[in-house]
Symmetry: C2
Subunit: 374 residues, 2 copies
């Protein structure tokens, strides 16, 4: 059987990511591939570093893009910092906190798990208590914006607790970067990772990361080699490093980095605070519309992520049928619930380029149509 | 300082990869992003699997694309198969064999290293002897086409030795896939990885892999969890798996997979044997032209890779100056030597879309110009 070229039906992406990608970013993506050691490319990598420092609000020297999706960004943080037998307090209030636990356990480290109910933020007091109950804790790990539930946790307060206890903080910012306030240096975040395909509105496949000086010190004073060769930052930095000759480590995903560069230029041009405000404004529009449709939010108002709206599926409505009709007839993708929320909630994303009036308007009108037909 | 959009100068890529990317592939890359669980996308993934089975010449059910570059494909093979304390005979005749050793050691496994001189193939007899000298060897690992030296090793003979000794073979086909004969099932290869950016002429960032039934059995009978969560095939296969419902593992690099799909459709349309022959033909043209210029090959004729020509830099010629002139004045990239070949050899790639008459003609004419000026 002969297989032919693939032409995707254009969709409006309002799920938990990938989000709508700007035509500017797609256009950058398709530019001619050049060598990964070409001086022009190397200069572009330096620009990505500066732009990421702006997006993360950090001066961290070790700020770069991992050549793989956010899951690999998570693994990069854990695998470089956490050594066998070390203790990590890890906060679980959704899928991605659980994934952190998996990472820690596979490294032979000790995860002290703090559970909070799905749909609620990390409880700061439980974290304080966990530090009191456990000695020699090296790390506090948590998810800033839980993609599985649409909940924002208080990263600033949590990092302060880590600092008071001389622990390093490891923060999942996959869904928060570019969508809500995030200040790596001001808040004292030590290791952070994000994803290209959420509020940066770039194509999926790249994971921006940043390590503080303290985190770099932990990395360079390791007793054992980093178990992953591909993710070993002591090697990767030879390629991304700011000074001197670039040494080959692996072949960078050249075109995906063109796209990341363009998405970060767009963020720079808009201004970070303006981007946060835009997400907020569109969220408020969506919220008003959903309330008119009688659709309620899962998460309490003060913990809601503007960029990821988890809402209860109205009683008697067929989850899969509605999402299928939205996709097939409106070319509109919204997200299903994950884990305990499967079949009970939808996740409506307003991330990056999707946080626009036309998206909110389409989503509300399409939902209104489909729910009436149901 | 405001950073602006990046417009790379179009280059002709005739180094060790990334190679020239076809306009068809770049066009596919820039198509609208859709969701990674969209039924259209999932169907396209099934097609990628079929196309990769054709490219690898295998019926292996576990055939897929790792969401990261070839280095991660290498790590995927080792991390899923090799457990702590197990013995691996690993053949080193260039950079990428050494990288295999790194992978094995970081897993706490035992690497029995067989060294062959750079520029020569793996010595089959040494491998036979190593199996005689060591009991309970679980794996034989080697590089089919060494990108650092331009040497082809006898994968068929090596895999036969592994089979005779009840060991599994792990094969690096980063530079061989699509460029020279490679028959996974006929040769009895158990685990193989490649890269998107070499003879497939796709953008860099994706690593096709394939595991035999025996390799899958080794994976499923592991005593310990795979140390990497991101690369754990028992989880990844829930997403790439051929049957039933796709379960979310990580967000696939959607657009890069469009590009891989298109490059594999092009390979299917050309026919695998025709692609091998095209690389051979262009290599012969390049060889004839280089000989006229008095440029000699590093590798003996019968072991030369048609797609990667390692040649000695003529006496008295300034390596860096020539490559810089080619790049700046002809927009032509050729590769520097690696390791022991740094400053002594060039690597001229004829990979995938770069294996065309116009590329060979340009390269020879530009080299002739520049060497006269030198």
């Amino acid at each position: 059987m002969t297989i032919t070229s693939f032409y995707p039906t254009p969709r409006t992406l309002m799920g938990p990511g990938p989000s709508d990608v700007s035509p500017r970013v797609l256009s950058a993506l398709g530019r001619p591939t050049i060598g990964h050691l070409d001086p022009e490319f190397v200069q572009m990598m330096d620009e990505i570093k500066s732009l990421l420092q702006y997006a993360f609000q950090t001066k961290n020297e070790l700020t770069m893009a991992v050549s793989a999706p956010g899951s690999a960004g998570m693994e990069t943080c854990f695998v470089n910092l956490v050594e066998p037998g070390e203790k990590v307090i890890v906060c679980v209030n959704g899928v991605f906190g659980s994934r952190m636990v998996e990472n820690i356990q596979r490294l032979g480290a000790h995860a002290i798990v703090i559970n909070d109910e799905w749909g609620t933020p990390v409880d700061v007091n439980k974290v304080k208590q966990a530090f009191k109950d456990n000695s020699d804790v090296k790390f506090l790990a948590f998810v800033h914006a839980e993609t599985s539930t649409g909940v924002l946790s208080d990263a600033k307060a949590l990092c302060a607790i880590a600092q008071e206890n001389s622990a390093l903080s490891i923060v999942d910012a996959v869904t928060s970067l570019g969508g809500v306030e995030l200040k790596v240096d001001d808040w004292g975040i030590d290791a952070i990772y994000s994803g290209s395909q959420k509020c940066l509105s770039c194509v999926p496949g790249i994971s921006p990361i940043s390590f503080s000086a303290k985190a770099v010190e932990k990395l360079t004073s390791r007793k054992s080699k980093v178990p992953s060769w591909f993710l070993d930052l002591s090697l990767v930095m030879g390629y991304w490093g700011g000074t001197g000759k670039r040494s080959y480590h692996h072949t960078a995903p050249v075109n995906s980095l063109y796209a990341l560069h363009e998405s970060l230029v767009m963020l720079q041009d808009e201004g970070l605070e303006n981007a946060w405000q835009r997400h907020k404004n569109q969220h408020l529009k969506l919220k008003a519309g959903l309330e008119k449709l009688g659709i309620a939010f899962v998460v309490e108002e003060q913990y809601r992520l503007p960029q990821l709206n988890t809402v209860l599926i109205p009683q008697g409505v067929d989850d899969a049928a509605v999402r299928q009709t939205l996709l097939n007839e409106y070319n509109l993708e919204i997200g299903a619930g994950l884990g305990g929320f499967a079949g009970k909630a939808w996740r409506i994303g307003l991330m990056g380029y999707a946080a626009r009036t036309e998206n909110v308007t389409l989503c509300l009108a399409a939902l209104a149509d489909v729910l009436v037909t149901e």
